[in-house]
Symmetry: C2
Subunit: 447 residues, 2 copies
């Protein structure tokens, strides 16, 4: 296979071909490293890259394959990892000068799960400072003059640029869905608590969720299936039920799934191109498949509650860094901490407790529909690098812990626009199956 063919392989296809001996991990990783060498000077997706170490992992994977012994389900497949996930063999600096040169002793639990299946951790991708709103140096592969979004900026850009078939990200408000949408990829933020966060930078324990940036729904489903699990060190994982996400995602729907089109209060702030593109999408699906449902007031209050929870928890965990080494934090992060410190504990508790009320409103919608359909962002990736874009279309769903997927189904002036679908809590499999059905339906319509 040519390098270009290798780089076009999905994660699952690559794993299958490596297992079958049709492709070597060394060839695939070499192709990825070539793409990185070619493109990353301008894109700046990677924070840490050691090509020799990546190739050593690939050689070990190929040796496992050749040995005939059971190799993992991701044996030899390169995966890029946001630089807030601890890696025992690479620095993990959280995009923050206060952690410069930090070398963890252990892999994050989810990284360890990928390695246990034979994955090659190809390198660490750029995160915004402490996974916040401070803009990173990464550029959007579709147009270098635009932001890739954040905070999983490097992961989204790397996958979009063909540097790895899949990358790990995390979402506290909108950090997986937004950059995936801006970079034209599939982004999947699972239900809160599905993947343990042990060894992952904490920003807001009530919201932080591990997710993936991928090129297909199946790849995203499979990676999350491998990383899901319970861990006594992460209370959020207690009681969460696990399921074979990939096989559920690949099931056919007996009928095309129906959608609740929820514009939310943010719709009026979305740009004209978004209004037009979603108008056409809803028209194409037709009234039998899409019903518009209004929950404006709920989402506005929910986004504010999410902001309160995020700011307070962020202030508690990052505050000591500000107190100790203020010169190592950006104005953005300093302002977020100071902002959080001004919020009272009683407001914080109210914001946490309000979730149950919002949840029941959304549950009613999800009973009658396959998923909620909504924009991923206010428009395509904004021009310039002074902002990572607005996460307003993600905050509410993250706050409720709901699984969300963005699909690169729309395009405006050559830039990708994501379609976000949101499912019921802990019913990730159904959401992924719905995502696949929607992708198939739109491809058929386009053909």
């Amino acid at each position: 296979m040519t390098d270009s063919q290798l780089l076009d392989l999905s994660m699952i296809d690559a794993a299958r071909r490596i297992a079958a001996g049709e492709v070597s991990s060394v060839d695939l990783v070499t192709a990825c490293l070539g793409r990185i060498a070619e493109k990353d000077g301008e894109i700046q997706a990677f924070q840490y890259l050691d090509p020799a170490h990546a190739l050593a992992q690939a050689r070990a994977a190929d040796a496992r394959q050749r040995s005939g012994r059971a190799a993992g389900r991701l044996n030899g497949v390169p995966i890029a990892v946001k630089d807030i996930f601890d890696t025992q063999d690479m620095p993990t600096e959280h995009g923050c000068r206060a952690f410069a040169g930090r070398q963890p002793e252990h892999d994050a639990a989810c990284v360890a799960a990928l390695r246990a299946e034979g994955a090659v951790i190809i390198g660490k991708t750029v995160t915004t400072e402490l996974a916040t709103l401070e803009p990173p140096r990464t550029k959007n592969p579709h147009n270098l003059g635009h932001t890739p979004g954040g905070s999983s900026s490097g992961s989204a850009a790397a996958v979009a640029a063909g540097m790895a078939p899949l990358a790990l990200g995390s979402q506290t408000i909108g950090s997986v869905i937004r950059p995936a949408a801006f970079c034209g990829g599939v982004g999947y933020k699972p239900s809160f608590g599905l993947i343990p966060r042990v060894g992952v930078l904490e920003q807001a324990a009530s919201l932080d969720t591990v997710g993936v940036l991928a090129r297909s729904v199946d790849d995203a489903a499979f990676a999350v299936e491998i990383m899901q699990g319970r861990d006594s060190r992460d209370a959020a994982t207690a009681g969460v039920v696990h399921s074979p996400l990939l096989s559920i995602a690949q099931q056919e729907w007996p009928l095309p799934p129906t959608f609740a089109f929820v514009k939310t209060h943010a719709w009026s702030a979305a740009d004209a191109a978004t209004h037009e593109a979603f108008g056409e999408l809803v028209e194409e699906l037709g009234p039998g498949q899409v019903q518009e449902i209004s929950v404006d007031h709920t989402t506005e209050a929910g986004v504010e509650a999410a902001r309160i929870v995020n700011r307070v928890e962020l202030a508690a965990i990052y505050g000591p860094i500000l107190d100790k080494t203020p010169e190592l934090l950006s104005k953005t992060v300093t302002g977020m901490i100071e902002d959080g410190r001004r919020i009272s504990g009683a407001q914080y508790i109210d914001a946490l407790n309000a979730r149950a009320r919002f949840q029941s409103a959304i549950d009613e919608i999800l009973v009658g529909h396959g998923a909620i359909l909504t924009p991923a962002a206010l428009g395509v990736a904004p021009k310039g690098h002074g902002s990572t874009g607005n996460p307003v279309f993600c905050a509410f769903w993250t706050y409720l812990g709901l699984p969300a997927v963005t699909l690169p189904l729309l395009e405006v002036d050559g830039m990708p626009m994501g379609v976000q679908i949101v499912g019921a809590l802990h019913d990730d499999g159904r959401l992924l199956r719905t995502a696949n059905a929607l992708v198939r339906q739109m491809s058929a319509g386009a053909a």
Copy 2:
């Protein structure tokens, strides 16, 4: 039996004699009602009392006994209930004008558990306003010029005055141990999460604990054994293991249990009589059985953290009452809410997270000793009714969720003084067994 003999029965003895047909519930409840009629004009332990309804419950219990069918383990035994526990057949007013005349539809889960065993809920006892520090109208049965303590004021006074063998209370900071000690009773605050709080007034969800005021360790153990349980409506009960507390409490120790005498930072504020009484107690037990251990700094920081958690959670839950009907709250409660609203969310999270650190310091002490030995209060019940006394000797243990028992082993100028012992989290049985051993040892020494 005479009324006086009936009133001297322990809860467990009363249950046994009623089951055996030696005593009728009607006779026992009548004796209790007689004592209430005689004494409660001055003591003011009861908030709500309907003698006819209490007797109707007693007649039903006697009928169950006579029927020969299985009756509950507390069949016909009168129990008094603090007026923050919902009762389907009596008002529940939380000691607060904002809840005047409130009639719940359902029993609190723990009240229902007692009724399921045949208990007679004899009446509702006075609580301080919303279970806070606002003084109640109840007087100390040992000397009407002194406070009974709070917030389980009426329950402690009722048991001490022989109006019921056992009463329900609750502790958020020191509301079971302090009034029990002031009124000369046994107070038992179980491990956090042992008894579901469904249908109980919430003041601070991270601290609120259902407890009992009794006249013996066995009675306290048995009542809590009956009320313990898991309930999906109270997350604190998840994962807590239950055990047959009474039979563990009645086991003999192979050797006399050893104690860590922990004065805490509050010792210097305790009065001279407390210093003297505990000095004598420690001397009597001797160096082989008691070792003084200093944890001053830890307890001071822990009490402050407990205050923060309590005030913030109180402000979140009671704040809306203040906003809606400020005229119905006392200055004390208004001040507590305003105080809580000034505390930031980040401080609150820090105060919650600090627990793990304090816990490990205490765990080390408890590994080497049967229990921690410490005062229950700064002295005997303070004179006057302007304050319910200082809970400083309870706050730290409540904050850590540890089980605590106060025993009426000391006396100063005719007023009872409690000895508090504190055990390891979720090892309530061992603490109760230690409590019984200490009571036996002190009785033998006094004989």
